[in-house]
């Protein structure tokens, strides 16, 4: 942590951005002809946004959220209901994100008063209640029949209903939200977040307002999930409550841990690996749950930095120098 003198962050960042934008650009060139592959790629993009938000909450401020599926559900149902009733997607999406943000604030406030396991409990309860609401309020949400026929938006007159066009919309959001997250993490806020994760008490002593920053980080994490949900609805064109059950939030947690919690790349690696592997190895989905939860335990015990930590091993063992970090 202290020794950052031999890093070359600029080069390192350019390399990361090169890979990131290169992959985004290459996917439609390679898989553009196959609408299913494009769908999977878009879906992964949506989940990366959620996991990025979760990483801010858990990885950077050490607060647990078991409500990310519910925040995603709030975003998805807001966009679905509004666009089905003729409102613009561009109005619905910010609203969905704001609802998730406010829900995060409301949930975070009582939970932050007390020890952090209560936050786990309250967000878990929130996830359960949102799921119950979505399944039972047929008048509003359609219950288990779901909401079919969600339209895809257009962008300044450009129709985004084809899979490739929608892929670029999600990719655009992903890039913008990545830049925003990097900005947050490298700003004064981000350094405060990190101080909080390293040592609550010390951070408070040097004047970081713990409550405000933690609450903000939690709510921003929720808003990211809200945006992801708002993109998921028009991507799938149909949503029902089964897309947002409580164990989906557990699944997000597993993605983050496998990718590397508290590492910027962690969200990307985790979402890609966990979502892509089942596509290659078709079979019983339950078996993946078994395998990935076992892997998560192993990673937690033996290798807490997750797959993102692989590059550290490379730097330390092969190049004999400290690994550079994307965020300070």
């Amino acid at each position: 942590m202290a020794n950052r003198s031999n890093n070359k962050p600029i080069v390192w960042r350019l390399l990361h951005w090169g890979i990131f934008l290169g992959v985004i650009g290459l996917i439609p060139i390679i898989f553009g002809g196959n609408s299913y592959y494009m769908y999977v790629a878009t879906l992964i993009g949506v989940y990366i946004i959620t996991i990025m938000g979760l990483n801010l909450t858990i990885g950077y401020t050490g607060q647990i959220s078991l409500g990310h599926a519910a925040f995603m559900g709030l975003g998805a149902y807001t966009v679905a209901l509004m666009t089905l009733n003729g409102y613009s997607f561009w109005l619905a999406l910010p609203l969905g994100a704001s609802i998730a943000f406010v829900a995060g604030l409301i949930l975070g406030l009582p939970a932050l008063r007390v020890k952090h396991h209560y936050l786990a409990l309250v967000t878990l309860g929130f996830g359960t209640v949102i799921y119950l609401f979505l399944s039972n309020e047929h008048e509003i949400t359609g219950g288990f029949s779901g909401l079919p026929g969600i339209p895809r938006p257009s962008f300044f007159g450009i129709n985004l209903s084809s899979n490739i066009a929608f892929y670029f919309l999600v990719a655009g959001f992903l890039v913008v939200l990545t830049i925003m997250m990097l900005w947050i993490l490298n700003s004064r806020w981000g350094r405060a977040f990190k101080a909080i994760r390293e040592n609550d008490m010390r951070a408070e002593m040097v004047g970081v307002s713990l409550l405000a920053y933690k609450l903000l980080a939690f709510a921003i994490g929720a808003a990211y999930a809200g945006v992801a949900g708002g993109l998921l609805a028009p991507l799938m064109k149909f949503i029902d409550p089964t897309a947002f059950p409580v164990h989906e939030s557990f699944w997000f947690l597993i993605m983050l841990i496998i990718g590397g919690s508290g590492r910027f790349e962690g969200a990307f690696i985790g979402a890609i690996v966990v979502m892509l592997l089942p596509q290659f190895l078709r079979g019983a989905q339950q078996l993946y749950f078994v395998v990935f939860s076992a892997i998560t335990l192993v990673i937690l015990i033996f290798w807490p930095t997750g797959l993102a930590g692989l590059s550290d091993v490379f730097f330390r063992r092969v190049l004999k120098r400290n690994p550079p970090q994307l965020t300070k």
Binding site: T128, L132, N136, I257, Q286, F289
Partner: protein
């Protein structure tokens, strides 16, 4: 009707209380918030069910399950998963128990069955009649057994030497260490105790819920609610919380709505946290 509801609320509350006590014991001994508590219960119920189906007499099946559970869910979980993580953040342990919960429930549904299986009605079916009041055998026996177990646990903690060591560890780890208490083995003992408690809770709930890979999920959550409402660091807190949650839930489903009983319990929980963050009977933690 009112008395029946109270009895049924207390009976489900007694099970919540039992599971919640295991929860608080784990918390006090090792600061572990066990999100896999409900899945421990599922695993025990499935084991017992398999043994009973193989023709093993019920009492023997119960004892064998207690043995397996004590080793697997107590000793192995403590030594293999919790011990290596114990010095890391609470969040890490929470995530680990969540992964464990996922592993347990998905292993059952993948390698055993994803179907609902009816558990034998071990207490019999004919209800007890007291004048005009009819009480189900299941409810009455659940209350009797749960209370007997809770008293036994309490006696163990208050009167025996290992029980007193547990208290010492819960109150002050450093002081306990100085006094020569082996913290690691006390913690292991608590994990084993919790595993045994969970088997009895499984025995009491399985005839009502039926055996299924996710039967424990809701129950674990309710036990967590109970422990929080009553006070996370007190056995009597878990007890009060369990009965409260059970009764509130039963009355909500009877008079308001079955769908939203979760919501009512959650509102009570948030209200309690806001008013008294240690829970109703809990004490301030260091």
């Amino acid at each position: 009707m009112f008395i029946q509801l109270v009895v049924s609320g207390i009976s489900i509350g007694a099970i919540y209380a039992l599971v919640a006590i295991g929860f608080t014991l784990l918390w006090q001994a090792s600061r572990t918030v066990n999100f896999a508590q409900g899945d421990f219960l599922t695993v025990s119920a499935v084991l017992m069910f398999i043994l009973v189906c193989l023709g093993v007499p019920f009492i023997l099946a119960l004892l064998v399950t207690v043995g397996i559970s004590a080793v697997l869910l107590g000793y192995v979980v403590k030594r293999g998963i919790i011990q290596p993580l114990i010095d890391r953040s609470h969040t890490t342990i929470i995530v680990a128990t969540i992964a464990l919960s996922f592993l347990a429930s998905n292993s059952i549904s993948t390698f055993w069955s994803a179907q609902c299986k009816p558990f034998p009605q071990i207490f019999g079916m004919t209800p007890y009649r007291f004048g005009s009041i009819i009480l189900s055998r299941q409810h009455v026996w659940t209350i009797v057994i749960a209370i007997a177990l809770i008293l036994a646990i309490n006696l163990f903690i208050q009167r025996t030497k290992p029980g007193k060591a547990m208290q010492a560890v819960a109150q002050n780890r450093e002081a306990a260490k100085i006094l020569g208490i082996n913290i690691s083995s006390v913690t292991t003992m608590v994990f084993v105790m919790n595993a045994v408690i969970v088997v009895f809770a499984a025995m009491l709930i399985a005839p009502v819920y039926m055996v299924r890979f996710d039967m424990g999920a809701q129950l674990g959550l309710k036990a967590f609610y109970s422990a929080t409402i009553g006070g996370f660091n007190q056995i009597r807190g878990a007890l009060l919380g369990g009965f409260l949650v059970g009764v509130i839930e039963t009355f909500t489903s009877a008079y308001i709505s079955t769908e939203y009983r979760e919501l009512v319990v959650l509102v009570v929980l948030i209200a309690v946290i806001l008013i008294r963050k240690e829970g109703l009977l809990g004490t301030e933690e260091r």
